[in-house]
Symmetry: none
Subunit: 129 residues, 4 copies
């Protein structure tokens, strides 16, 4: 697979996995109908316990992103792309809002906040389009 996990950055491994799968679906690196690696295979590849991968898959299944075919494997559902894109944006919007609101609660001036935001936006690579 095309992604990595970082066992010690606070975010649970199973969530790192499910997020990256969602992102892969959102950017169509993973397409509807396509089979994803088996639990055991991905577990081996990421050097992670199969249960951990299974949990990520199960969560995605509960969200309707993945579908299980018994004895066969799991694949990306039709609706997944739309859903993942919406999720990605909504998740981001929430996090931005959260940070901004905390800034306000902290009595930071709007102008100071704008400066900070622009500084950080400027740091981002142009290539991330």
């Amino acid at each position: 697979m095309f992604f990595r996990i970082d066992a010690s950055d606070g975010i649970p491994i199973y969530e790192q996995i499910s997020r990256q799968i969602k992102f892969a679906v959102a950017s169509e690196a993973l397409r509807p109908g396509e089979m994803i690696p088996s639990v055991r295979e991905l577990a081996r590849e990421l050097a992670v316990n199969p249960n951990t991968v299974a949990r990520a898959y199960r969560d995605l299944q509960a969200e309707g992103i993945l579908e299980a075919l018994r004895g066969t494997g799991m694949l990306v559902t039709r609706q997944a792309v739309k859903q993942c894109r919406a999720d990605r944006i909504e998740l981001l919007r929430q996090r931005i809002r959260q940070v901004f609101e905390e800034a306000c609660r902290g009595q930071l001036a709007l102008d100071e906040l704008r400066v900070l935001v622009n500084e950080e936006l400027a740091r981002l690579p142009e290539s991330s389009s």
Copy 2:
């Protein structure tokens, strides 16, 4: 005291407490030399376990924001204001950076990100300056 805690928003309660105290100091709602409520008093007020408040105070003490007067209580140190202001900005900068980087990892286009950020900035009350 003048702030609230939300027991179920992911951020540990003790950290919510210490942050809000820092913010209060940064905005001079709490001034150097001023006594802060006792552990028990604040715990009662926030309907929170006293251990939790104690931990927040302990953390702030370790950071040099608070100072204990034996048998009397705790008060805000002289250097606290400067420190809290710097902390506030640095904390915020980190969180903004974190969110933006996650957006990039999620393959979101820079322009989409800018739009999101501006939408959310626009939602903020002007009065927070």
Copy 3:
């Protein structure tokens, strides 16, 4: 053949196959003495693993619904019709009982259950007689 399978509705595929064959026999769409499609043929037709069809056939054979003619194929036994009809009713009775009992365990009032049942009965096409 005249039926379809749904790979993701919880019921094992081999069971979907055997049930539908039983139903076909019960309604005399499939008559005693008649040959049924070979494992390979039906597997191809249903886009299903041959092992799965084989298992369905094996189960039906064990129940005495099908009979193997060496080197020739499988056919419906004489006694099959009577048996399938009885099975069909008994199977249904069990499932109804199961659902009703679960409703009771869930503390649903008998009257609410009756209403539900009648609503669903009303939805059924008259033509299914």
Copy 4:
């Protein structure tokens, strides 16, 4: 707690647990704001692995029925009752529909089905209201 699990009736243990909690909430045997037994406690009581209970709780949390207070325990959410009642009815409706549709696919006459249903309804204890 007031319910039992049957380790070998096909339904996963974690689901038996979550269902019975939902039912308890729906019938207000468990009320919003009320704390439920800890993972370890219920596990001990049911003679089941704590992970299994934890999974049931986690599923309910994902559905918004339960809420976790870190270091404290889990409690029933405000909206839970409404949701559990709706769930209970909807779950039942689906299962009834499924059974009926299968009956039709099996070419059973509507009248035969009605007879079956009434026989089974009659078997239920009046007290289940």
